[in-house]
C-alpha cells in the first residue's frame, strides 16, 4: 500500500493509509501526550491531550480522531497547543490522588508519563477528590474511582473487543463514573472477569489484587487452559508469576485473555500442586514415576476390557487439550479401547 507523507512540526513522517495523525506520529517515535487512545479501540477524542494544529483545519483537532492526508501539516508543539494540553493535564491532576508511590501502576502509568511530558508542576487549582468508595466486589481486581480519568477505555474494550458491555458511564459531568447496569457492584453484573479492562486502564483506577511488585523478567508462553492457544507474557520474579498480560503481537488473541488465563495461574506456585503422579498403595497415596503410573493405568484398562468388554470403558475429554490431542484421545477410546462412549466437557 502507498505510504502517505506528512509533516509534524516540520519533520517529515510517513503514515500507512487509514492511520490517524496520532498513530502515525507515535509509530515514528514522536510522543504526543494521550490517555484515551488505545490501538485496539475506535478513536474516542475524550482526554483532549492530543490536540494539535493542522493547517487548513479550524480550531484544535485531536490527533487521534484525524486521519492523515497527504501533505498534511501538523504542529504539535505550539504555545497554544501546549497551553491547552497543560491546563487539561492540570485539571486532571487536581482531581487525581497524589499517592503515586503506593499506586500499583507507579512508573507504568500513562498519566504520569503525560504529566511529566507537559511539565505539570505544583497545581494552582482547587484540589478535589471524588467521594466514591472502591468497588472491591470482584475477587481478582479492584476499581478505585478516585484514580479514574474517565477515558472509557475499560468501557470500550468491554464493548468493542469483548462484545459484552458489562460497564458504561453513569451520571453526568463531574459526577460521571464507570458502572455496571443499575449501579450494581461489578461482581453482581454480567462481567465475566476477563480483566481486559484492567489491562487497558491507563492509570491505577483498575488494578489486579496483589500485583503491585514489578516483575524481574518477562516470559512468553501459551496459556495452559484451553485449546485456543492464547499467547501470554508472564512477569516473573523469584521464579513466581507476578503479572500476566496478553501478548499484543500474537495474532491468535491480540492481547486478549479470559478470566482463567489472566487470573488462574496461581496454581503454578501452589504448595498443593502435584508434581509427580501418585499411586495408592495400602490406602496411602505414594509418589511414583510417569512410567509406573502409565503402566498401571494401561494394565487396568486391559483387565477391564478382557473381563467386561471395551464398552465398559468411557472417555471424557477436556477443553484444556488441543484439537489434535482430543482427536487422539477419541481414537484411543474408539480404536484402542473399542468403546463408542466418548464425550467432551464442552458439550455438557
Amino acid at each position: 500500500m502507498e505510504e502517505i507523507k506528512f509533516t509534524i512540526d516540520g519533520q517529515e513522517v510517513t503514515a500507512k493509509p487509514g492511520q490517524s495523525v496520532l498513530e502515525a506520529t507515535l509509530a515514528a517515535g514522536i510522543y504526543i501526550p494521550n490517555l484515551c487512545y488505545d490501538p485496539k479501540l475506535e478513536p474516542y477524542g475524550g482526554c483532549r491531550l492530543c490536540v494539535v494544529e493542522i493547517e487548513g483545519m479550524r480550531g484544535l483537532p485531536t490527533a487521534c480522531t484525524t486521519k492523515v492526508t497527504p501533505g498534511m501539516k501538523v504542529r504539535s508543539e505550539t504555545p497554544e497547543v501546549h497551553q491547552v494540553r497543560k491546563i487539561t493535564m492540570e485539571l486532571l491532576v487536581a482531581d487525581h490522588p497524589l499517592e503515586c508511590l503506593t499506586c500499583s501502576l507507579n512508573q507504568r502509568c500513562d498519566l504520569q508519563k503525560a504529566a511529566a511530558f507537559l511539565g505539570v508542576d505544583q497545581s494552582r487549582l482547587r484540589r478535589s477528590e471524588r467521594a466514591l468508595a472502591n468497588d472491591e466486589s470482584n475477587p481478582f481486581f479492584v476499581r478505585d474511582f478516585k484514580k479514574c480519568i474517565l477515558c472509557a477505555r475499560c468501557v470500550r474494550v468491554c464493548s468493542e473487543v469483548r462484545g459484552l458491555g458489562a460497564i458504561d458511564m453513569a451520571k453526568r459531568g463531574y459526577e460521571a463514573f464507570i458502572s455496571p447496569f443499575a449501579g450494581l457492584p461489578i461482581a453482581d453484573s454480567i462481567c465475566e472477569s476477563c480483566g481486559e479492562c484492567v489491562d487497558h486502564c491507563p492509570t491505577g483506577a483498575l488494578y489486579v489484587r496483589g500485583e503491585a511488585i514489578l516483575p524481574g523478567k518477562e516470559v512468553k508462553t501459551i496459556c495452559p487452559y484451553c485449546g485456543v492457544g492464547c499467547q501470554m507474557v508472564l512477569g516473573i520474579r523469584q521464579n513466581r508469576i507476578v503479572k500476566v498480560l496478553g501478548d499484543l503481537t500474537y495474532p491468535v488473541n491480540s492481547g486478549s485473555l479470559c478470566v482463567k488465563g489472566r487470573f488462574g495461574l496461581d496454581f503454578a506456585s501452589s504448595e498443593d500442586r502435584l508434581k509427580t503422579p501418585l499411586i495408592k498403595k495400602n490406602g496411602q497415596l505414594v509418589e511414583a514415576t510417569w512410567d509406573e503410573a502409565l503402566d498401571l493405568v494401561a494394565s487396568r484398562f486391559k483387565e477391564i476390557k478382557k473381563k467386561h468388554g471395551g464398552q465398559a470403558i468411557a472417555g471424557l475429554c477436556s477443553a484444556k487439550a488441543t484439537n489434535e490431542e482430543n482427536y487422539l484421545f477419541q481414537k484411543f477410546i474408539r480404536a484402542g479401547a473399542g468403546s463408542p462412549h466418548i464425550d467432551h466437557c464442552a458439550r455438557l
Binding site: P43, G45, G46, C47, R48, L49, V51, G59, L60, P61, T62, T65, E80, Q83, V84, R85, I87, T88, L91, L92, A94, D95, R124, L125, R126, S128, I149, L150, A152, D168, M169, K171, R172, G173, Y174, E175, A176
Partner: protein, 615 residues
C-alpha cells in the same frame, strides 16, 4: 379529499371562529397559560356562565408570547372583532362576563387589546408596545389558531408551501431556501440551504431528517411555544426539508419535559397522515414521509447533534468528534439533516411566499427574523420575534419596557448558558450572528435575560457555570473538570474566599476549555465567565480584594447596619427579623447584631425610612 377541497373546508371552519354565532371565548392554553392558571379560570368561568344561563362556546389557543399578561383570554362577540383580556383572575373574569359578554361593554382598562382596529380607547393588538416592533414568522400562528385544529392551520396558508414545493424539484426547493438566507436557529447559524445540499449530495440510503426539539437553555421556550401552539408548521417544515434532502423517514427528538408539546405533536402527525399531508404519496406527489417522535430523557447535551443521534440510536447521549458530519454519516451511519424547530417553522412561509420575501428582513449576513425569550429584570417578559438587525436597546426598552421598578438596566445575557453578558453601553448593537459573536456572546437559541443594577455579575457567571457544569456529559476532560474548577473558583469568590490571581486563572482555564473541549457545550461554557470578566473585571476585583459585593447579592460580602440618623424606632425590622438580631427601644434607633445576622435582607426590604444600610 383534494387539497383545494381541504382548504375550502378550512376557510369555512375559520370563518366560524372570527364571526361566531354565539360568543366565543378563546383561552391561552399553552404550558405558560396553564401554569398561570388558565385551566382553572376557564373551568370557573364556564360554570359561572352556565349558572347564569349565558350561551357561549370555548376553545383553546396557544401562546401569544405576552407572558407578563398571562393568563389571557380573547372574547369574540358576534359581529365584533375579538378583544383580548389579560392578567385574569376569577373575580376579573366574572366581571368581564357581566360587562362584556352580557352588555358588550369594556369597563375601565380591563381589556388589553382589540384583535382588529383600536376601539373606544382599547388599542389594536398590533399597536401594543410589545407587539409593534415584532415580525412574527415562525410564531405567525401562535396564540392565533387552535393548535389541535388542522383546519385552523390550513386556513392560514397551511401546507401551501409544501404544495408548492412538491411542484418543484428538490434542487429548486434548496435554491429557494438559499435565497431566503435562512440560517439554523438552534444557535450555530449554519446556512440551512447549504446544509440540505450537503445531505442531498451525500451517498447512502436511507437518508434521515431529524427535528431537534430538545430545547434546553434555562429560560428559553421558543421551541416549546411553537410545538404547543402551532405543531403543523413544524411538520410542514419537516416535509419540505425531507423532500429537499431526499429522506422518507424523520424523527422529532423532543424532551420528555414537554408533555403538552408531545401530545400536540402526536395529534398533529395523526391529523396530517389522515389527510395525506404526511405518510405515503403525499398530496399525490409520490413523495413519502413517515415521522416518529423520540423523547429525550432530560440531558441538555442531547441538544448537540451528535449526542442527539447517539440517543436516538439507544446509546448514551454523548457527542463525538466531527467530521464525519451528519450530512455524510449521521443517524445509524446514514446521511442525516438535523434542523431546529424554529428553523423548520420558518420554512412554510418561505416556500409559500418565496425566499426573497424572507430575505427582505434582517441584515446582510443574518436574514429574516429571530425569536427571543425575553426574561429577567424587564417589565414585559415573553416570547418575541423580531427582524434581525434590531438593536438590543429596542428589544429591552421598546418591546420589553425596561425595568419594571425603575432600576438601571446593567446588561443582557444572550444565548443562555453558552452565551455572554453584553453591557448596557453596547445596547446600540444590532442583533445578528456576527455582531453578537464580535462582543463575545452568541445568538444561541434565543434566550435573552435582562440584568439590572442589583445583579452581581460574578454571581451571574457562577449561576450559568453551575448549569453547564451539571450538564457536561463527562466525556471530555476540559469540559468535565474545567467547568467544575471554574465553578469552584467562582463560588469561592462569591463566598469571600477569592484569592489573588483567581481572575487570571479563570481566564486561562476558560480559554483552554473553550479551545480544548470536544463539543460546543464545553466550547461555549466559559462565555459567561469570560464576558463578565471582560466587561466587569472591577466587580471581580471588588469581590476578591475589597471583599465587597456592591450589587448586594453575595451574602458573605455584605453587611447590614442601621443608620441611627434615619431610624425612628418603629420596630418593624426587629419584629420581622427571623434571628432576633435587631434590638432597640421603641422610638429609639435600633442596632443589628452582625454576629446573629444571617443577611436575609428582610429588614432592608421592610424599612420604610431607608434606615437599613446594605454595604
Amino acid at each position: 379529499m383534494r387539497f383545494e377541497q381541504l382548504q375550502a373546508r378550512a376557510k369555512k371552519a375559520w370563518q366560524e371562529v372570527v364571526s361566531p354565532q354565539i360568543p366565543l371565548i378563546r383561552m391561552g392554553m399553552a404550558t405558560c397559560g396553564r401554569a398561570a392558571g388558565g385551566q382553572e379560570l376557564l373551568q370557573a368561568f364556564q360554570e359561572e356562565l352556565a349558572k347564569n344561563k349565558i350561551q357561549a362556546q370555548f376553545s383553546e389557543v396557544g401562546c401569544l408570547g405576552l407572558c407578563y399578561a398571562e393568563p389571557m383570554a380573547e372574547i369574540i362577540l358576534p359581529g365584533r372583532p375579538g378583544v383580548l383580556f389579560a392578567k385574569l383572575t376569577p373575580a376579573k373574569m366574572k366581571k368581564i362576563g357581566e360587562d362584556y359578554l352580557v352588555h358588550g361593554k369594556i369597563v375601565g382598562d380591563s381589556a388589553l387589546a382589540v384583535m382588529g382596529p383600536a376601539r373606544n380607547g382599547t388599542p389594536a393588538f398590533t399597536d401594543l408596545p410589545m407587539v409593534k416592533g415584532q415580525q412574527r414568522t415562525a410564531l405567525r400562528n401562535c396564540g392565533i389558531i387552535d393548535p389541535t385544529n388542522l383546519d385552523h392551520y390550513l386556513a392560514h396558508d397551511g401546507y401551501v408551501g409544501l404544495k408548492r414545493a412538491l411542484s418543484l424539484s428538490p434542487d429548486e426547493v434548496i435554491a429557494e431556501v438559499k435565497t431566503s438566507g435562512l440560517r439554523g436557529r438552534g444557535g450555530a447559524g449554519f446556512p440551512t440551504g447549504q446544509k440540505w445540499e450537503f445531505c442531498r449530495k451525500a451517498t447512502g440510503t436511507p437518508k434521515y431528517l431529524i427535528c431537534n426539539a430538545d430545547e434546553g437553555d434555562p429560560g428559553a421556550f421558543m421551541d416549546r411555544s411553537v410545538l404547543e401552539s402551532d405543531p403543523h408548521s413544524v411538520l410542514e417544515g419537516m416535509a419540505l426539508a425531507a423532500y429537499a434532502i431526499g429522506a422518507e423517514h424523520g424523527y422529532i427528538y423532543c424532551r420528555a419535559e414537554y408533555p403538552l408539546a408531545l401530545e400536540r405533536l402526536d395529534l398533529a402527525i395523526r391529523q396530517a397522515t389522515e389527510h395525506n399531508l404526511l405518510g405515503d404519496n403525499i398530496l399525490g406527489s409520490g413523495f413519502n414521509l413517515h415521522l416518529k417522535i423520540k423523547m429525550g430523557a432530560g440531558a441538555f447535551v442531547c441538544g448537540e447533534e451528535t449526542a442527539l443521534m447517539a440517543s436516538i440510536e439507544g446509546r448514551r447521549g454523548m457527542p463525538r468528534t466531527r467530521p464525519p458530519f451528519p450530512a455524510n454519516q449521521g443517524l445509524f451511519g446514514k446521511p442525516t439533516t438535523i434542523n431546529n424547530v424554529e428553523t423548520l417553522a420558518n420554512l412554510p412561509p418561505i416556500l409559500a411566499k418565496g425566499g426573497a420575501w424572507y430575505a427582505g428582513f434582517g441584515t446582510e449576513k443574518s436574514k429574516g427574523t429571530k425569536t427571543f425569550a425575553l426574561a429577567g429584570k424587564v417589565d414585559r417578559t415573553g416570547l418575541i420575534e423580531v427582524p434581525m438587525g434590531i438593536t438590543l436597546k429596542e428589544i429591552v426598552f421598546d418591546i420589553g419596557g425596561g425595568s419594571p421598578i425603575g432600576k438601571k438596566i446593567k446588561a443582557v445575557q444572550t444565548g443562555g448558558p453558552s452565551g455572554g453578558c453584553i453591557p448596557a453601553e453596547l445596547f446600540d448593537l444590532p442583533v445578528d450572528y456576527e455582531r453578537l459573536a464580535a462582543v463575545g456572546s452568541i445568538m444561541g437559541s434565543g434566550g435573552m435575560v435582562v440584568l439590572d443594577e442589583n445583579t452581581c455579575m460574578v454571581d451571574v457567571a457562577r449561576y450559568f457555570l453551575e448549569f453547564t457544569k451539571n450538564e457536561s456529559c463527562g466525556k471530555c476532560a476540559p469540559c468535565r473538570l474545567g467547568t467544575r474548577q471554574m465553578h469552584e473558583i467562582l463560588t469561592d469568590i462569591c463566598a469571600g474566599r477569592g484569592r489573588p490571581g483567581d481572575i487570571e486563572l479563570l481566564e486561562e482555564i476558560g480559554a483552554a476549555v473553550r479551545k480544548g473541549s470536544l463539543c460546543a457545550l464545553g466550547g461555549t461554557a466559559p462565555n459567561p465567565v469570560l464576558t463578565t470578566i471582560q466587561h466587569y473585571r472591577h466587580e471581580y476585583e471588588q469581590h476578591i480584594q475589597d471583599q465587597r459585593c456592591f450589587a448586594g447579592v453575595c451574602k458573605a460580602l455584605i453587611t447590614y447596619s442601621i443608620n441611627a440618623e434615619t431610624c425612628n424606632g418603629c420596630r418593624v425590622c426587629a419584629t420581622n427579623c427571623p434571628q432576633q438580631a435587631i434590638s432597640g427601644e421603641k422610638k429609639k434607633p435600633h442596632v443589628i447584631d452582625t454576629a446573629l445576622c444571617i443577611k436575609c435582607g428582610i429588614c432592608y426590604e421592610m424599612c420604610k425610612f431607608d434606615a437599613v444600610v446594605r454595604q
